[in-house]
Symmetry: C2
Subunit: 563 residues, 2 copies
């Protein structure tokens, strides 16, 4: 049997290596348009920033290893031009424009995606994307040789944020423009704001809600960038990170089914509409992740898992369909380091679920120390949990913090993989010793708070909802200690330290006919205070995430003004 | 309703706080024999070592908070002497030996456990345990004031290892004596050896397989310790950390059901054999964890979860049994920091399962970089997965390394909580960006290797099994590069770099009738090499964990000699 694989990075290379292990006798050919295979695409921003020092470090496995160890015939610098499904062959052209055709019994398409570059940005000196090794090498060279002192990053997704950090590391003054009102589309705005604050604190100029409508080279070798709000700015360097589009032309041209947005349609065995052609990686649709998030699912982890599925299924004989391996879909777990912060997401955002009209969705946010507070320096993990308030089903989670964000997200990913409720998060058994966690880890805390919501033990409100309360019928109480309150509080809230609440009630100084909205620092004491009020038959809401959440919420104005 | 709680640390204090939130009108009394409540028992070794600087930091919530915020009547320095179940009262005595009795409608026993102190060690100056704040304060004072320069730690469990690190931090020369042939009973010996190596590298003298049979004070103020191998040693300080026994006398004396090993028997609603009496924490049996590991399940995490269950169930009215909350049992997730290493465990060890005669158990070990190898410094996570080789059910996992051990263990804990197979570990979606993980995280790698074993794609052997092969019928091949082989290899193995294997086979220089045992550095290349041999119909085994595992395995002699 002869298998031809188009594309030699995570998806294609992964299929080639495992297919060889499963079938020593299979003929395997791999076609790659770049001059190399199996490079670390995720490392490109870090090469630009100098953290990855040598270009060679970006090559995970070189061509010689595929050749000798895996006996894969690799053709680099070779483009697949078209696929003839009747003849079962791929027409290819190499750098010298020599044409050839390669016959296959089974074909694998792992062509990935290409960065979106608007027409006005094409072939402009000083404008870069970050997809290939050449991109990163070119960018670093440009920084080192051009004497550039500032840069504009367009797009606040993973690559945009990593680019900001790495350009900053190279000493550049960085501006970030993002068309949406927030960075990181895989997070809700309340959580993305931590990143806004972090970027600003490092001197990155944030332009939110602003796209780029033109780029012009100027006589002094700089770039004049026109923003879609009409303003212009001059910069020495532009990094475009506004997303990718799937490289599905080959597939579409030979009549394979392709989605509206250009992704190759596969079933969960990773087969395309032609049973002899498989596809995987950034170029395919993925089950279980909403279509409109596919653009952001250009992730290496799912590609590696799909490679395992494809390599197994390539070897199935006719009639062995029942033995097929299945790709389980993706939760879209993603994470990014942005200066000293880490931010990540799993599952769906509240924003997405609202847009889809999903019912009974709510969320809670906790600010929990990453380990016990009495051990060395405990740092908060800001963790938002999105869940169904009736069934307790966990729909998504987002986390931000300096440490342990990856750990807490991965735990939620693991639980969601097996179908989690908020009770599972409350029951989760963390690995606790003082340097690592607490008897209640951030995941446990989020689970317990959410379980209290589902169980009806607490009603919470978000900062954005505070304005909806009738001021005449509501009392806004900050139940922290006097000193805490005086150091900063939410406008309209009056201070009543929680230890005095019972006295106020029993002395009949609290009006039982009013509604009480309570806040404390992070929401923990507020919960206890709300329970006390409820114990006396008084209606009380607890502010979700307390004053810490409010501090982030109230940054809204600043970020909008910036843009 | 009046609830009396005996014990005011994690279990008891947890019940008190949540019970108040759930029921403002309940009367709650808490009886604690220490002069304080709610202290951080896990912090005691770190107080002794000076990481936790102030004694006050060890008090999580003080008595005044229980009094004012939670309206709990706390009696500290008060001992519960007996329980009269007919009268429904607890007889107590305070420090002044004043006797009293406290009536209850529901009683909660959270008396915890006490360190085991053999008779010969009782009341000796310079001999310490680490259970109470006084213990830790006394130990630190003794170190600071006595001029002691060395210490013997007896027992290599969590507290023993933490004591080693913290005494070393105080500048003492430390010896560790452990009766078992290894430290950390919750791990298999192959994984515990990393800790042996770490301890030795820090200058801790390891005495494995050796218990203590006598301690005598000497005229010069030192301690003369007799080991059970007959030898003696002189030391300035002894820390006993040989385990705890449950404080169940009260319960046993009033006729509650107590297990053979002295733990109070509870059902999964945390009820004792008396429906009006609940118990939780270190003093109770725990479902799903084998009886003989109960002694090591003195963990704060499960106690916090049990507190949630107890507080809910205390408020159930008669006939509401169906609304009862249930404690799901414990996987016994545990973790310890030991100098620069972290080591932890979840589920069952191979040793335990073998002793229990469980069928079809096997294990694999991977040594996977904690993040992509090309990003800054990647450090190995040594991860052992214990599983059923027929069904793929995950039975346990153990991990050791400098970083990410907690994360990878927690992921496996989360998956096991929901009933995991090795395929679930392979499918797990990690949070990957270069600073955090890799497209295949350590959990993914372990899952993939184990899945290959279950699928029959690879047969592995452990270092201990190498001797079982008939030398005349077996070829031991080290398939690493020449330079790697020459830098250190396993006796009896000959070098054949993997890229040459196919040539050797096709040139008929490998005897197809022999069995081949292959090793590489960590087991990854060896798997590919074994696949090649199998492709030519040659029987091949891959050494589990490769040369890295062998290096640890071969340390056996050194450790035994030390003891």
């Amino acid at each position: 049997m002869k298998v031809v694989i188009i594309g030699g990075t995570t998806g294609g290379a992964g299929v080639a290596a495992r297919l060889r292990r499963l079938g020593e006798k299979v003929q395997i050919a791999m076609i790659e348009r770049n001059p190399y295979v199996s490079y670390a695409g995720c490392g490109l921003p870090y090469y630009a920033g100098g953290i990855v020092k040598n270009k060679d470090d970006l090559f995970v496995v070189d061509k010689a290893v595929f050749d000798k160890r895996f006996r894969v015939r690799v053709s680099t610098a070779t483009r697949a031009v078209s696929i003839d499904r009747k003849e079962k062959c791929v027409y290819v052209k190499n750098l010298l424009l020599q044409a050839d055709k390669v016959y296959y019994d089974k074909l694998v398409i792992a062509t990935g995606a290409t960065p979106i570059v608007p027409p006005f940005a094409k072939d402009k000196k000083g404008v870069f994307t970050l997809r290939t090794v050449e991109d990163a090498v070119g960018l670093r060279e440009y920084i080192e040789k051009s004497g550039v002192t500032d840069a504009l990053v367009v797009g606040g997704g993973f690559i945009g944020l990593e680019a900001c950090e790495n350009l900053w590391r190279q000493g550049l003054k960085v501006t970030l423009a993002e068309k949406a009102p927030q960075v990181m589309a895989v997070m809700d705005e309340d959580m993305a704001k931590y990143l806004h604050m972090e970027l600003e604190s490092k001197g990155v100029t944030l332009k939110l809600g602003v796209g780029v409508s033109d780029i012009a080279e100027t006589a002094d070798g700089k770039l004049n960038v026109t923003l879609d709000n009409g303003s212009t700015l001059s910069t020495g360097l532009v990094v475009l990170a506004i997303g990718v589009r799937p490289e599905s032309t080959l597939a579409a041209d030979c009549g394979l089914e392709v989605s509206e947005r250009g992704f190759i349609v596969v079933d969960d065995t990773m087969r395309t509409s032609d049973p002899d052609i498989f596809a995987l990686g950034d170029v395919v649709t993925v089950k279980g992740v909403p279509e409109d998030r596919l653009g952001t699912l250009a992730l290496a982890g799912p590609a590696a898992k799909q490679a395992r599925v494809v390599s197994s299924n390539l070897l199935l004989n006719e009639g062995e369909e029942s033995k097929a391996k299945h790709f389980k879909g993706s939760l879209g777990v993603s994470i990014v380091r942005c200066f000293n912060l880490t931010a990540g997401s799993v599952g769906k955002t509240e924003r997405f679920l609202a847009r889809e009209g999903v019912k009974d969705v709510t969320s809670i946010t906790v600010h929990t120390p990453h380990h016990v507070s009495w051990f060395e320096t405990a740092l908060p993990v800001h963790l938002k949990l999105v869940f169904n308030k009736v069934t307790g089903e966990v729909l998504g989670a987002q986390a931000v913090g300096q440490v342990s964000v990856d750990k807490n997200l991965e735990v939620i990913s693991a639980l969601m993989q097996k179908g989690a409720t908020v009770y599972d998060l409350a029951d989760f058994e963390s690995a606790y010793a003082p340097p690592f966690s607490a008897p209640r880890s951030p995941v446990n805390m989020a689970g317990c708070v959410a379980a209290n919501v589902v169980d009806g033990l607490i009603e919470t409100v978000n900062c954005a909802d505070l304005e909806k309360f009738d001021k005449d019928k509501t009392v806004f109480l900050d139940i922290r200690e006097k000193e805490e309150f005086e150091a900063g509080s939410i406008p309209g809230f009056i201070n009543l330290p929680m230890e005095k609440i019972r006295e106020e009630i029993t002395c009949e100084r609290l009006d039982p006919d009013k509604t009480y909205v309570l806040t404390c620092q992070v929401g923990v004491r507020g919960y206890t205070a709300a329970c006390i009020l409820r114990g006396y038959g008084i209606k009380a809401y607890n502010l979700n995430g307390g004053y810490v959440s409010y501090q982030v919420y109230s940054r809204k104005l600043k970020c909008e003004r910036d843009a």
